[in-house]
Amino acid sequence: MTAPMSAFKDEDTLIEALINKSEAAFRHAVTECQRSMLYLAHSMVGNKLADEVVQEAWFSAMRALPKFERRSKLKTWLMRIVANEAKTRVRRENRQESLDAMLEPDAAMDSRFDTKGHWQNNPLDWDGDSPEALLTSDELRACIDEMIETLPDLQSATLNLRERQGYSLDEICNILDVSESNVRVLLHRARNRVFRCIENFQDSGECCTI
């Protein structure tokens, strides 16, 4: 029997029901959070492993729930557990790039400026004034997705959480366990990669994900 969503009048009630292993509470929480959790996992470990990572995160979360201190929303806490599971998986597969490496200066961007800090390789003028206009090309859409998959896990996760899921910088710090200044750098690097990807596509009509 499915309990109506209104059965959980607030988050504390829901958490108590989850701790008591109420099936209706599980259904409510999964319905509310699964999509976001999968989207984040997908950005960090790819499509093949995302389901497994999220399922593992649910099990870990439900075991840890009695100790949840409720300093963040339940969903943010669940997302943090997904990020941790995904990081563990990336580490296990030796695909992890260190945070320090991800924060190093962006050589591809820096080379576009001369020693006085002026553009020497000017940004090209794009043909298209809105995201919709740019995305009329299916090739560009596929290229962007392919490029994002090549980003290091934390850059890809930051981009996913900020641009595609609308999380605030504060929440992203909490979910990824990274300082705000580092989140800002990760986001800037990732955005510049997208910028260069679109620029290259506009210039050559070809997809370059490097």
């Binding site: 292993k21 099936e23 319905t31 999509r35 999968l38 740019l134 994002i148 641009e163 910028f195």
Partner: protein
């Protein structure tokens, strides 16, 4: 006066909203005279729009939800 590289280095922060007043004034002065930075900022903003509009997370099916709910209910039984 800000250099173009300094504008580029802080561009992403600018997209997140207003920064300090002095930085805002220095940026505006730079953008008044630099078409390349105006173009870069505009296109960086467009890039973020492209990312947000190009992706979508499919909603999990009812069947997937029920499978997971039953696994969670069976846990530690």
């Amino acid at each position: 006066m800000l250099t173009c590289k300094q504008v580029s280095d802080t561009a992403s922060d600018l997209l997140e909203g207003p920064t300090t007043l002095s930085q805002d004034i220095r940026l505006r002065l730079h953008l008044m005279i630099c078409i390349h930075c105006r173009r870069y900022l505009k296109q960086l903003r467009l890039s973020t729009g492209v990312v947000s509009k190009s992706g979508s997370a499919p909603a999990p099916s009812k069947e997937d939800i029920e499978t997971l709910v039953s696994k969670l209910s069976d846990q530690d039984k």
